[in-house]
């Protein structure tokens, strides 16, 4: 390993000398205090003479180190710098546009700002809702139809498949365990209650978070990058009303319907799996399912679906509106929307569970 002597020394004439070694400086010098590099604190008021290496070559490391020395020892003046290097250091000392740069925001401040913006968006939607119900909201019918299609017909296959498989998996696990106790028929209760009350709303919401919520986020983030949102704002139209409200209403309306649709496939998945394993007839399984699922389960599941739908749409739109104005911003908005929606749905489900427990329903 190469050994480096301290670069600072005293000249006989009383000047402080900075000798740059041939072959470049030790990169560690860039991060070390100058006082650790042979600079005596009392010398700092004297002139600084720079001795360039015999080859006369330098790289950006030497330039960066010299820029720091010049900045920290500025009052004493610098001698011996080649003209080209002095010009380069002059460029580095000119801070341009610094006043236009926003101060860095701490992560805690960023989260607080995001939360405040999300609550503001939620508040705006609540305020615009009566206008929407009265048919006076400023939005395009085509956008509402597009949001409805995005949230329904295009999501049907994936909602069906995931719920069918979820019902089948529950039935597999339940059939093996319950059959050991001679209670195989109760697999219908397990599948019915678990899917209607808990799993179908969550699973459907998660599927829609990855599909529709992400689509909302990427669409709005792209509009943000193309200044399309600014063009709306300049017309005096709030993006919450024109862009967010149709999507929230569409997903809020359709999630309960998708939930019912998903429940049917979950029960079907349980039926086609448990039937052959436990030798249960379709009629017996259906009758047991009917006995097991009450109106309360459907009410809780349906309410969850509605709330999750609104949440997924809101988070998707919020992430789109808050995205940076760049191509990368579209990607990060989409990721944030999916992650935020999944976490939000699970957290809200926990709140529902606590409330249901307190209310004993």
């Amino acid at each position: 390993m190469r050994a480096f002597a301290d670069p600072f020394s005293n000249s006989p004439n009383g000047e402080l000398t900075l000798r740059l070694p041939e072959g470049g400086i030790d990169p560690a010098w860039l991060a070390r205090p100058l006082l650790e590099l042979g600079l005596d604190g009392s010398q700092s008021s004297r002139a600084l003479r720079v001795e360039m290496p015999p080859s006369g070559r330098w790289t950006s490391s030497e330039a960066a180190f010299l820029a720091r020395c010049v900045t920290e020892l500025a009052p004493c003046g610098v001698k011996g710098l080649p003209h080209e290097l002095a010009k380069l250091l002059g460029l580095a000392s000119t801070v341009q546009g610094a006043r236009g740069i926003e101060e860095p925001v701490l992560p805690s401040g960023r989260y607080a700002a995001e939360a405040a913006a999300f609550l503001a968006l939620l508040g705006e939607i609540v305020l615009y809702l009566p206008r929407f119900l009265a048919g006076r909201a400023r939005m395009r019918r085509a956008d509402v139809v597009e949001a409805l299609a995005e949230s329904s017909s295009r999501a049907l296959p994936i909602v069906a498949i995931t719920n069918l498989l979820m019902g089948a998996i529950l039935a597999f696990v339940g059939a093996v365990q319950l059959n050991a106790f001679g209670a195989g028929i109760y697999v219908a209760n397990l599948v019915g209650i678990a899917s209607v009350r808990e799993l179908t709303p969550i699973l459907t919401a998660i599927v829609l978070a990855g599909r529709t919520g992400a689509s909302f986020a990427s669409r709005i983030a792209t509009m943000q990058g193309n200044e399309e949102v600014d063009a709306l704002t300049a017309l005096g139209v709030r993006s919450a009303e024109f862009l967010v409200l149709p999507r929230v209403v569409a997903l809020g309306l359709l999630m309960p319907l998708l939930y019912v649709y998903g429940c049917a496939f979950a029960v079907l998945g349980g039926m086609v799996t448990a039937g052959p394993i436990l030798d249960l007839s379709v009629v017996a399984y259906a009758a047991q399912t009917k006995l097991a699922i009450g109106g309360v389960h459907f009410a809780i599941g349906g309410l969850k679906a509605l709330v999750f739908g609104v949440l997924v749409a809101l988070i998707g739109c919020h992430c789109g509106l808050r995205s940076p104005r760049s191509a990368a911003g579209v990607g990060s908005a989409t990721t944030s929307a999916v992650v935020g929606s999944i976490v939000g749905v699970i957290a809200l489900d926990a709140v529902f569970a606590v409330c249901a427990n307190v209310l004993k329903i």
Binding site: R99, G100, N226, D230, L235
Partner: protein, 244 residues
């Protein structure tokens, strides 16, 4: 008579840090007024503040004697905006793009809106392109379609953000001529942000030079006059790159 746009001791910027301050200008009706400056000097920040996308840190902006909030309370915005990239709504046809502001603000009767929108498109030379989507238009056509949209609500002021950016010299010249024709034909006040000197000399009556290092305007006047006799050497150097 009050100015079409009055900018009274305005400071603009992000957060609490001003990018430009001490902006004090009256823009007359029918004037073509350019905001010029080096990169990062705050031209677009000023434009975003003027059109209400950002709050002013200080001062007041009036449109024919009333603030934007007061104007909006009584209906539509007093201005149209041509954004740098056009900012056409990509899911709509050209005609729908021009009609949407009318729909949102209840401008004219629903039956008259398509005819009005077609007229605005014809004004900017886009007759026949009504059913085309923005993705199928060239850069110059997108700019002209966006200009037609900016005219949709018959504004008294047009804000143009770098109208020549990304256009070839011929398309840029055509756009300039179009802006001049609109000003002459409709009496519209035009405020444009630009760094295209040829365009500046061609159409601007007056200009304001924003100095990015001083963080304040350093020159106000006719471009040719400032190129000769501006007090700031920076302004003279900037303008002399393409003196008329």
């Amino acid at each position: 008579m009050s100015a079409a746009v009055s900018i009274d001791d305005v400071a603009v910027g992000y957060g609490s840090t001003p990018v430009q301050s001490g902006i004090d200008v009256r823009i007359s009706q029918g004037e073509i007024f350019a905001v010029v400056g080096d990169s990062g000097s705050g031209k677009s920040t000023l434009l975003r503040t003027l059109i209400g996308l950002m709050p002013a840190q200080r001062g007041e902006i009036l449109f024919d004697g009333a603030t934007l909030e007061e104007r909006m309370r009584h209906g539509r915005p007093p201005f149209g905006v041509l954004f740098q990239n056009g900012a056409l709504w990509s899911s709509m046809t050209t005609l729908e793009n021009v009609m949407l502001p009318m729909d949102l603000h209840g401008h004219a009767t629903p039956a008259a809106r398509p005819a009005l929108a077609r007229f605005k498109l014809a004004l900017v030379g886009l007759a026949g392109a009504e059913s085309r989507y923005p993705s199928s238009l060239s850069g110059g056509m997108r700019k002209r379609a966006a200009l037609a949209r900016a005219l949709a609500l018959d504004p008294t002021v047009l804000f143009l953000d770098e109208p020549s950016a990304g256009l070839d010299p011929l398309a840029s010249r055509r756009l300039d001529e179009l802006v001049l024709s609109l000003r002459d034909g409709l009496g519209i006040t035009v405020v444009l942000v630009t760094h295209e000197l040829e365009s500046l000399y061609r159409i601007a009556d007056r200009m304001l030079f924003l100095d990015g290092e001083a963080h304040r305007p350093v020159a106000l006047g006719a471009p040719a006059e400032l190129a000769r006799s501006a007090a700031s050497r920076k302004v003279r150097d900037f303008l002399s790159r393409a003196a008329p």
